[in-house]
């Protein structure tokens, strides 16, 4: 990586140094550059606008990463405050022993210990006339000494209890802001809590912020912490009176605060954690590095989002680079005679490059500066959209918009580097022009650089072959993907000497296209688990190849144009096609801009469509013939009999759940805490959850499930069990993998073998499946807290779920149909895909704006032609229509190429590759998205070009010809 940075940075530094030197000490270069910028201010603005979008996109990806990082880090403040480590004691009566060990001698690097008791409850408002009753099944009832809490960690403001008053007594309760918000409660209101089979009413004495200890979350899987603080002794009293023998007793917690503030304290976690583990050994206590886990996750998620948006944004950046090249090439062609004259006057080639490069760099500096600032705005929009998506699901996260200055600087530098390198690359091409040909505006002969091309061809073939071999042998997807196309492209100048140009280009391009589309199916072992960067490479390969193929073979449009003009009515069309067909390099750049972005948009749209269409199937396959998933509070558990006797229930499969830690053997990743589900024969009575992959020794899915029931060393897991933090899966668990299950309380470890995998996404969050009888051997704390329920004939599952949730409120019931759970999950997934599409659509904006910029320049460039056409009788309407049709031709062709590639590639990936966890999904064409995309991009393109087209039509022939002559 450092070598790559060095390789990129070196030419950039040379260019930057030359720019500064030329600006300071070469007045002629400076004069040429500055005056050319000033000569056409309007166009300078267009060039800068076209160039700044790339920088804006890059910067915005960093801003998104910063915001995610800062938001999750902020959880450390709001959910933990001074808490750095947490010790969970399974039985409250074990707490004194743990505290005795912890306080026996001072522990270095800690400045506080705070014991607490907690139990999950359902909380609800009381019945009152004219007021709707509200309930929250995922709340926690806790006991803590408020004075001790305030003194915990030496910063009362960070604990959330600074203004909480004394510890509650009697039937008083202090609730935190999350619970107050959800139940619309205020001071003086009554709140009811359901736990241990009973209902207890409390009077709200105060509301504390969701901060520090008051914001600590023990219940639910969202970001809310709904806490109800009650008088000491309440929980033990209620637990003692529990009606259900299987009720889980309250948990005892010891919060540990390290020396240092909210964030700095985590630095001491490793030694403190070692010491805590040593002191609690043998006491059945689970230890958590609460603060460090949050900070690690913040960094991981922030980095991953920044990378994801950066990679998706890379398509847009490439579109921006193509626009920049187009603009520079047009600038150069417009000034060809002027540049030739400078050469004639004694400018050396390098002078020409530097003078032109200096002008380009002036644009680049302004564009990169404005782009970095604009990137903050783009990032803000993306963050808003992301927040809306998070808020629509249960895992909502309130995002705190944040921009680190270093992100702005890096965004600026990358944008500047891209602009500078592009400008100088194009300038070098300009510097090679022949003086006479430039002055007389003659085209460069085909053979002028034949030797260079042959050398490049040979080098390219070798490079491509080496990349392909290394990539395939080393299972490295990007070299494997791009190697063969590089070799094939490089063949063009070599075989071009032997066969016709069209054939020399078409055959290698068709082969490269075939490879680009089929590689995922042909070599699944190489491309399994490919990330976004591989698709970026694929998009570039396919688009580059297709555009080359199309511009080489688009002569057919000549015939169409001639047919159109044969009647005399298609003159505008003929004019419209003439320039794109004659100036193929420029056309290719514009087509590339459109195709690349549309390709990815269609690719994402296809996936979104396929995912959404899978909902009924996925729900059916996960349900094993059941309809509803019911989760209950472990402190108010239910038996299968309790549930089956509810109205509308036909059958029940009880499931035991727990939260052990998992570690994949052979993996260097940290152990991750995920759900464990224990099942019995009843789960398999109405069918079986469908498996994605299973060990070959099992003839059917049912055989695999039954084998797990029999053998405690076997397990079935979702493929994405060990992926965390959102975004695409990074670790896929395969059949045959060995997973170590760790009991957090005892540290005991058991290995289980994965004999089958379910859907990677695990829409119903079951985690690892083992036999119910195996669960107690793996983990000490578990509860029968989930039930799969089959609705009785004639009962609507949705109505049943709603009724169960209301009737079993006392048990903290949360009931949803399988379809609802899958829909919710897919909906978030699709919202995220839409967000990426929206982000990517900025690339389309670049393409459309670029087309507008190019057309503005085309009008200027073709002024003389327009004058002549008007002189010989072409009406202004024909001229205007010709420009609009030209834009429509380019945009339409680009959109068509992008759509075709997007559909073919997504079809290939969805239908044939194992990239989606081995599932071969039925492909559907996203017609609505395609129609919307085509209509939006074409109409926006026409709109962008209308002004220059109208300007062209208003050109007075005499004025144009006078200027020309």
């Amino acid at each position: 990586m450092r070598l790559l940075i060095l390789l990129l940075a070196t030419p950039l530094l040379v260019i930057a140094a030359l720019t500064v030197f030329d600006f300071a000490f070469r007045p002629t270069f400076r004069r040429l550059a500055v005056r050319n910028v000033r000569r056409r201010k309007g166009e300078a603005v267009l060039v800068v606008l076209g160039s700044l979008l790339g920088t804006a996109i890059i910067t915005s990806s960093f801003v998104v990463g910063d915001t995610l990082n800062a938001s999750i880090r902020d959880e450390a403040r709001t959910r933990l405050g001074p808490i750095d480590e947490t010790i969970l004691v399974a039985q409250p009566d074990g707490l004194p022993a743990v505290l005795a060990r912890l306080t026996a001698t001072p522990i270095p690097d800690i400045d506080g210990l705070l014991p607490a008791l907690t139990a999950p409850v359902s909380a609800a408002t009381v019945d009152a006339p004219g007021r709707q009753r509200l309930a929250e099944p995922n709340a926690a009832m806790s006991e803590v000494d408020f004075n001790a809490a305030r003194g915990f960690g030496r910063d009362p403001a960070a604990t959330g209890f600074a203004a909480a008053g004394p510890t509650p007594s009697g039937t008083e309760a202090v609730i935190n802001q999350d619970l107050a918000d959800d139940l619309h409660l205020g001071v003086g209101d009554q709140v009811e809590a359901y736990l241990y089979g009973t209902r207890v009413a409390f009077s709200v004495r105060g509301v504390v912020p969701r901060l520090g200890v008051a914001g600590f979350r023990t219940q639910g899987d969202d970001q809310h912490a709904r806490n109800l603080f009650v008088a000491p002794g309440t929980l033990v009293r209620l637990a003692a009176a529990a009606t259900a023998g299987t009720a889980r007793p309250p948990s005892a917690l010891v919060f540990v605060s390290n020396v240092g503030g909210v964030f700095d304290g985590a630095r001491a976690t490793p030694p403190v954690f070692r010491e805590l583990r040593a002191r609690t050994a043998g006491l059945n206590a689970e230890l958590f590095q609460s603060k460090q886990d949050v900070l690690d996750r913040a960094k991981e998620v922030g980095d991953r989002f920044a990378t994801l948006f950066g990679l998706v944004g890379a398509f847009t950046v490439i579109a921006g680079v193509l626009l920049l090249v187009n603009i520079v090439v047009m600038l150069a062609e417009e000034r060809k005679a002027e540049l030739g004259m400078l050469r004639a006057l004694g400018f050396k080639r390098n002078h020409l490059v530097r003078a032109f490069g200096l002008e380009g760099n002036l644009y680049a500096i302004v564009a990169a500066s404005l782009g970095a600032v604009a990137g903050v705005g783009v990032g803000r929009v993306v963050v808003k959209a992301t927040e809306a998506i998070f808020a629509s699901g249960n895992r909502d996260l309130s995002l705190r918009f944040a921009v680190r200055p270093v992100s702005l600087v890096i965004g600026f530098l990358i944008g500047l580097a891209i602009c500078m390198l592009t400008v100088w690359g194009a300038s070098v091409r300009i510097g090679r022009l022949n003086v006479i040909r430039a002055i007389r505006d003659l085209p460069e002969p085909e053979s002028s650089h034949r030797r260079d091309r042959l050398a490049l061809g040979v080098a390219g073939v070798l490079l491509g072959v080496v990349a392909a071999v290394v990539g395939i042998a080393g299972r490295s997807p990007i070299p494997a993907l791009i190697g063969p196309p590089i070799a094939l492209w490089s063949l063009v100048p070599l075989v071009g000497r032997l066969v016709a140009h069209r054939l020399a280009v078409s055959v290698p391009c068709l082969l490269a296209l075939t490879w680009g589309v089929a590689a995922f199916s042909v070599l699944p072992s190489v491309f399994d688990g490919s990330d976004v960067s591989v698709f970026l490479a694929q998009g570039v390969v396919l688009v580059f190849t297709s555009v080359w193929l199309v511009v080489t073979n688009d002569d057919g449009f000549h015939l169409i144009a001639e047919r159109l003009s044969a009647s005399g009515r298609g003159l505008a069309a003929r004019l419209a096609l003439a320039n794109p067909l004659a100036k193929r390099f420029r056309t290719a750049l514009l087509l590339g801009m459109y195709s690349l972005v549309v390709f990815v948009l269609v690719f994402l749209a296809s996936f979104a469509d396929v995912f959404q269409a899978q909902a009924p199937r996925v729900a059916r396959e996960a349900s094993a013939g059941y309809d509803v998933v019911l989760d209950v509070n472990p402190s108010s558990p239910l038996t299968a009999d309790d549930v089956v006797h509810q109205a509308g229930v036909a059958a029940v499969a009880p499931l035991v759940q727990a939260r052990p830690q998992y570690q994949l053997q052979g993996s260097t990743g940290l152990a991750q805490q995920q759900t464990l589900t224990g099942f019995d024969e009843s789960l398999l009575e109405r069918g079986t959850p469908v498996l994605a992959h299973r060990d070959r020794r099992f003839a059917s899915d049912s055989d695999a499930w039954r084998a797990v029931l029999r053998d405690p060393a076997l397990a079935i897991v979702p493929g994405g069990l060990l992926s965390r933090g959102g975004g695409p899966s990074r670790t896929t668990v395969a059949v045959g993998a060995l997973i170590t299950v760790i009991d957090p309380a005892s540290g005991r470890r058991h290995d289980v073998t994965v004999v089958a995998t379910t859907d990677e996404a695990d829409y119903v969050r079951s985690g690892m499946f083992v036999a119910a009888t195996t669960v107690p051997t793996l983990i000490s704390r578990s509860a029968q807290s989930r039930f799969y329920i089959a609705a009785a004939p004639g009962t609507d599952p949705t109505q049943l779920a709603r009724r169960l949730q209301g009737d079993l409120l006392v048990n903290g019931a949360k009931a949803d149909t399988f379809r609802t759970l899958v829909d919710q999950s897919l909906s978030r997934q699709n919202d995220f895909l839409r967000l990426l599409q929206g982000y990517l659509a900025l690339g389309l904006v670049i393409g459309i704006a670029g087309l507008g910029v190019v057309m503005v320049r085309a009008v200027r460039e073709r002024r003389r032609e327009i004058g002549m056409l008007r002189a010989i009788g072409f009406s202004s309407r024909v001229v205007r229509t010709a420009f609009l049709l030209e834009a429509a031709f380019i945009a339409g062709q680009g959109v068509a190429i992008g759509m075709a590639l997007g559909l073919i590639t997504s079809f290939s990936v969805i239908s044939h590759s194992s990239i989606l966890g081995g599932e071969s999904l039925p492909f559907t064409v996203p017609w609505t998205a395609l129609a919307a995309l085509a209509a939006a991009s074409l109409s926006a393109s026409l709109l962008a070009v209308y002004a220059p087209a109208a300007q062209a039509s208003r050109i007075k022939p005499a004025v144009a010809l006078r200027i020309a002559d």
Partner: protein
């Protein structure tokens, strides 16, 4: 052939405005051109020759006066009508050829036919025939950048004549050519004239100016002399 004025201009004025500055380029031009006449226009650079051509042909607007072509006041026509009229009745040849660079020679030549509604196949046939007449039958498929200056001007002449316009305007048609090529091109124009088309040529070249039916001198935006070329040249161009 009975001579009648194909073009009749009265009191034509043209003012160029640049910011607050005004330059009166034409100061009341009165001119009649008979059908089939070969009219030469000469005068010093910057004195209004090209402006006169632009204004009398309708390429540019005027600030005063009137211009009748075939008895129709072209400056009272809306732009679309004037453009259509120009397509039917006029052809143009310029010093810098002004060919469309992305079209081949024959595609350039067939443009006036297509704009006049001639069938595409017929237009291509007539364009190639016209190119053969100007001696470029074998260069029909070449683009302008692949042709010499003389060849480009021949293509421009073919384009100007292919629709058989009644009135052909030529602004310095030989200005960019060497003397031998210039003579060849001028002979082509003389052939045009002999076939009955009206030709108005703006030129600097005395030898060309001397070969018209009439010579007009333009100086300071006015017609300062007109008559038989030999006489005007002798009296006003020494």
């Amino acid at each position: 052939m009975a001579a009648y004025p194909i073009l009749s201009a009265r009191g034509v004025r043209k003012i160029y405005r640049t910011g607050a500055q005004e330059v009166e380029a034409l100061r009341g031009i009165d001119l009649d051109v008979d059908a089939g006449e070969l009219l030469m226009v000469m005068g010093p650079s910057g004195n209004g020759k090209t402006t006169m051509l632009n204004c009398l042909s309708g390429l540019d607007d005027i600030d005063g006066g009137s211009v009748l072509v075939d008895g129709e006041e072209i400056h009272l026509m809306p732009d679309a009508r004037r453009t259509e009229h120009r397509a039917r009745r006029m052809g143009f040849i310029f010093q810098s050829f002004n060919l469309i660079p992305v079209f081949t020679a024959s595609e350039n030549v067939e443009l006036p036919l297509l704009v006049n509604g001639v069938n595409g196949r017929e237009a291509r046939y007539r364009a190639k025939a016209m190119l053969r007449i100007v001696g470029l039958g074998d260069r029909a498929g070449h683009r302008p950048t692949e042709l010499s200056g003389g060849e480009q001007q021949r293509v421009a002449i073919a384009r100007a004549l292919v629709a058989r316009p009644a009135l052909v305007w030529a602004d310095e048609p030989t200005g960019n050519l060497d003397s031998q090529t210039a003579e060849e091109v001028f002979q082509l124009l003389l052939d045009v004239h002999r076939s009955g088309q009206t030709l108005i040529i703006v030129t600097h070249d005395r030898t060309i100016g001397a070969r018209g039916d009439r010579l007009v001198q333009v100086r300071d935006g006015r017609i300062t002399a007109q008559g038989p070329p030999a006489q005007v040249l002798a009296e006003h161009f020494r």
